[in-house]
Symmetry: C2
Subunit: 201 residues, 2 copies
Amino acid sequence: MKFSPALETLIESLRCLPGVGPKSAQRMALHLLERNRSGASVLANALRDAVDRIGHCQRCRNLTELALCEICSDTRRDQRTLCVVETPGDVLAVEQAGGYRGCYFVLMGHLSPIDGIGPEDIGLDRLQEQVETQGITEVILATNPTAEGEATAYYLTEMLGSRGIRMSRIAHGVPLGGELEYVDGSTLMHAFTGRTPVVRS
Amino acid sequence: MKFSPALETLIESLRCLPGVGPKSAQRMALHLLERNRSGASVLANALRDAVDRIGHCQRCRNLTELALCEICSDTRRDQRTLCVVETPGDVLAVEQAGGYRGCYFVLMGHLSPIDGIGPEDIGLDRLQEQVETQGITEVILATNPTAEGEATAYYLTEMLGSRGIRMSRIAHGVPLGGELEYVDGSTLMHAFTGRTPVVRS
């Protein structure tokens, strides 16, 4: 015995959400139908609207419903500095940290030959073209400190390194507020290798 | 700085799902747009379809897109035995346990004066009418063993008790496979009060 067909379809469809298994999907479907039908309608419209309208920024590949995203079309930002990140979530994280006034390039992933994801799948041909034609003077590599993120950063260094632009990798080390005792060994070694001189003022 | 408006709307709408906070909603929205747009379309349609078509069974109040749900319209089931449960999920649980061949009455909640939920809000007027007019001979009270569920069961006992129908409450006790050591005190006391005599065969 199962629920009625339309309800079963809804439960099955909810499982496309990350982290939602059969039990959560059932709980969500029953909650929406019993307590929040208007919310369910709003969600249906928002999904439809997002799928139909949201595409990628022509320049930085970030998700947007415009041709050029808000950051790329903001003339007050430094158009010649690019920060390369993996996902739109990373852009938001850097923006919320504040202080960075350049533009972005969003890979929408990382190099992963094992999954068949090569340079073109993450838009590196477009990045190279931009660097060549748009007078980029600095590239900051902010891919994740994972094996794939590091490999992607290394590939980018090789690809763009010979063009006389400034390239840097964001620092890895002990997070602020973290305690040495609880930080893992590789992070700690990164923190030692990347140590900066202190100067008596 | 935030995401683009359509994306922000999607993230906000996803929060109507139970147990989904701002961070999960963001992760879900980005996942759908980056990796599973077809899943998002399917989900939008399933939500729309469910909201438009799923209503309540005329007889047992369970969620269904039919006038009478599959269980109520199944003539092989005993139409004169009713099991009273709180939610459609409870119906599924009893059905999956197997063995019960009667029908259901789904309260879609429980009595909760503090939230303004009275007898009529959980369909008790309809239940009373059914018991009077449809020759119900047995009612099994399977509301949850919570304060509200017990209060609802007590109210039902008072409401239907004088009509000469058999009424029972499902047993509460130590779950199968459970260990006495880890069972809470109230459950254990229930298990003692509800003990059944053993007979030498």
